[in-house]
Symmetry: C2
Subunit: 236 residues, 2 copies
């Protein structure tokens, strides 16, 4: 029973950061890995298919990686949250600007998202006896969302451990990395970057101007590497 | 905008403690009160109807009390949690025994329940600009659930405040009270105790032997008061 608690949950969104996070977990953890993804009504719901492709990449390498647990909570978010441009298609998704400079929280912030995700993963961890939960949050090259900050993660870690029957550790290997460093970690751990999707607008091809596209492009540029996902699209 | 943040959310389950909690909030808070209830697949789902009756009691007194926001997350709990006798009708709900004496967590514990409830209420608080969230948890005459302990509440309070855009306070007026004291608080604040339901078994009448029935009976006995809900049933 105690041994089984070394199972690991990894939050996989379909984006770059979580794919790198899963690749790190795959290399560092010895026991079973349970990837989890959420459909909460995000406009770029196509990221869920990318999450599945990323997970499948690792499942092809080892049966230690379990099938993606896909959790649908769109109805819940519809009921609770109406203010986010990331879930309300009548709102405009803004182009990128340097939020960190003026402490503005962009309209793409989904209130309670990471709190609810982590709460769900805590319940799931209790069931599958996972002692570790990986989440690819980043507080350096990010949009300024409050639920990506170290203080939030630390408090949530404590809440989860105190509120359940055995300790669970939140592992955030990307928390203090630049986007360029995340790209390099991805290459180091053979993350299937070409399968990932970041664009908030969720169109046929990445828009190139939203927050998520801009931060991603900045990372690849600073790392001196071409984005394999864009290469893939250009080759189509 | 700042003024609106004095709105209040109250978790109302339909049981004794949350009815007392709502009556305290009703008397102490000046601004609007948003009651929230969850259907998560609990076997005593009839408590949801009791929650509605309790809320209606206060709505008849003031339009400050909003209609019960009823959140259905049974599918989510079905997917995440299979180990609890409170949500799995193939399991046996145990009769009461003094859990605190041997540190056992009873099978009625639903992993992640209060973490998920509070996470959802944090998202909702962000939307309706509520700066306070009342929850009637109790760590004295209780079943030993880890997500009712002060350390959990404190950590969750910090996680919610760090992870959202403005501070939200978790108010737990019953945390350090005995069940008898909770009963007395209920009388003091005119809580509609007769409308409440506590029995985990959710039958036509309270079983009288489950944890929740026993703790409730203990409270009324120690307070020297007859339970108005049982009086109501006996008068039918």
């Amino acid at each position: 029973m105690a041994g089984q608690k070394s199972n690991t949950i990894v939050l996989v969104s379909g984006g770059l950061d979580s794919a790198v996070c899963l690749s790190i977990a795959f290399h560092k953890e010895q026991r079973d890995i349970y990837p989890v993804s959420f459909f909460y009504g995000q406009r770029h719901a196509k990221e869920c298919f990318h999450a599945d492709a990323v997970v499948q990449h690792f499942r092809n390498q080892s049966p230690r990686v379990k099938a993606l647990e896909f959790i649908r909570i769109k109805n819940l978010f519809d009921q609770l949250v109406s203010s986010s441009s990331l879930t309300d298609s009548t709102k405009k998704i803004p182009d990128h600007f340097p939020y960190q400079d003026n402490n503005t929280i962009p309209s793409t912030f989904v209130p309670g998202r990471n709190i609810i995700f982590l709460a769900c993963m805590a319940a799931y961890a209790e069931e599958i006896e996972a002692g570790k939960i990986y989440i690819g949050v980043n507080a350096l090259d990010y949009s300024g969302y409050p639920d990506c900050r170290p203080a939030f993660i630390k408090a949530m870690q404590e809440a989860i451990s105190f509120g359940t029957t055995f300790p669970k550790f939140l592992i955030t290997p990307l928390l203090a990395l630049t986007k360029a460093e995340i790209v390099k970690e991805g290459l180091k751990y053979n993350a299937p970057i070409k399968y990932t999707w970041s664009c908030y607008r969720g169109g046929a091809v990445p828009c190139g101007t939203c927050d998520s596209c801009k931060l991603r492009a900045k990372g690849f540029e600073a790392a001196g590497i071409k984005d394999p996902a864009l290469e893939e699209i250009n080759n189509d």
